[in-house]
Amino acid sequence: MRDAIAAHVHDGDTVAIEGFTHCISFAAGHEIIRQKRRNLTLARMTPDLVYDQMVAAGCAKKLIFSWLGNPGVGSLHAIRRRTEPAALAAGETLLEVEEYSHHGMVGRYVAGAHRLPFYPLRSYSESDLPNVNPLIRQVESPYGDGKIWAVPPLNPDVAIIHAQRADEEGNVQMWGLLGCQKEAAFAAKRVIAVVEEIVSTSVVRADPNRTIIPGLIVDAVVHEPYGAHPSYAQGGYDRDNAFYREWDAISRDAAATDAWLKEWVYDLPDRAAYVAKFGAAYFKNLTPTSAPSGAVDYGDYR
């Protein structure tokens, strides 16, 4: 992870650590904090705790998003302190924000991935969002049936995608909530794939429908067990809802937030140390019982 972030994430980059609730690479977010990247534009549908932590650590100058909250809990307090003038600390500046709806954010990655100038959608009529985001515009249908809203392509400098497994060539397989991992990865100039498990290529090829992105577009593959915690990996470990609730209390206080970052990010060398600090028993409690899929038969056609 250290090498992947050092090589592919630079000051001033537009970074998309995607994963909708599921498979969010907190391990990458923490490594970016440790390497003290600055002036990043952070794109994510739901900034989640990972961007709250990165904003608190001073990595970001701008957020691009569609839903800014702690899912199921409440607010992202570190981000609120940088978006509400009354809450702004002395010497801090307001974050730039550029916001869309979920369909609009997905559409931006799709347009970026497809090399198209915009993505058309029916959202935004009679909403105030286009009034505050001039990049949401209307275009006339060339087929004479009125106007449609459009969002511009988003091509991040780097997309960081967590998933259950990949082979060493970076062919990534994922199951459960797919979010917009595939679209963000195809839209990005560089891709870091972080996975729970490295498997042999024969495992990937035995179930090709499960592959979300090919190694062709992947620049670095990082093996990082529990790398999504406190997010989760379907079938591997549960979402750590207790931590999402704890973060609410921690993040309300700037000093407590800094102390947490020191203890759990800066003072640890890597993800393995973070996992060890929680301890095996902690993760055992987050492990679900098994619910395997039935195998399908692709057939042998030689």
Partner: protein, 259 residues
């Protein structure tokens, strides 16, 4: 069976919202109270209902109450788990959703909703989460149900920001615009609060339909920021049954986290 405690106002809200889903087929679920209402409806008045979660699940059968919209329990045992591009494009914008649940920090009398900011957008007093999927649910789901607690802070004369359109400035203009622009949905139909149930009249304006047991008309009027339309006879919302309360307390929210 031991004697049940009387229903709380949150329970009255959840039960009324669940009953409004009677006979509905495909419902787009939100987190928190809508989640409980929809899961209660599926166990009572709408067993055939398909639960759709914006995270990318059609036909969810959650074995526990999901804290977040993207909990792993909505995936296991679902009919289909898809990308968010498919969910918002094929399922929502494609017109497959009958009912969408929305809430917000502010609602006005036409059912327009604010989930973005309190105060000025560029220098907000309170920065709220924003649209998420709300603005496209408002446009594309055939019908919108709103569930939120009412107060003069939340039921306001004028929104600070219109995130999701309802009946805009009135039903006639709204219907014309929806038609002209090819919106899939007809806008809000029901608003359920901790005090009452509302519908929308032919002008597209919120109208009182029933008052929950224990609440009064004065209380309802005092917690709304505009002159509420009140028909001559307003019935009481039918009280929750023992079974509905049992489902909420023992199966859907046993720790009392939401209700």
């Amino acid at each position: 069976m031991s004697e049940q405690k009387p229903a709380s106002r949150n329970e009255l809200m959840v039960v009324a919202a669940a009953r409004a889903l009677k006979g509905k087929r495909v419902c787009f679920v939100g987190v928190g109270l809508p989640n409980i209402a929809v899961n209660l409806a599926k166990r009572t008045v709408a067993p055939q209902m398909e639960l759709v979660y914006e995270a990318g699940v059609f036909g969810a059968s959650p074995a526990r109450l999901p804290l977040s919209i993207g909990d792993p329990t909505i995936v296991t045992g679902s009919t289909a788990t898809v990308s968010m591009h498919d969910l918002f494009g094929l399922y929502l914008q494609g017109g497959r959703i009958d009912v969408g649940f929305l809430g917000g920090a502010q609602i006005d009398k036409y059912g327009n909703l604010n989930t973005t900011v309190i105060g000025d957008y560029t220098a907000p007093k309170t920065r709220l989460p924003g649209s998420g999927g709300a603005c496209e649910i408002a446009i594309n789901a055939k019908e919108i149900m709103v569930i939120m607690r009412q107060s003069t802070r939340s039921f306001v004369q004028k929104l600070d920001f219109r995130t999701s359109p309802g009946h805009l400035g009135g039903a006639a203009a709204s219907a014309t615009l929806r038609q002209e622009q090819g919106w899939g949905g007809n806008g809000p139909s029901v608003v359920v609060t901790d005090l009452a149930v509302y519908g929308f009249n032919s002008d597209g304006e919120m109208e009182l339909r029933s008052i929950h047991p224990g609440a009064t008309l004065d209380e309802v009027k005092a917690s709304i920021g505009w002159e509420l339309r009140v028909p001559t006879n307003v019935p009481e919302t039918p009280a929750p049954t023992a079974e509905e309360l049992r489902l909420i307390r023992e199966e859907l929210d046993p720790t009392g986290a939401y209700v």
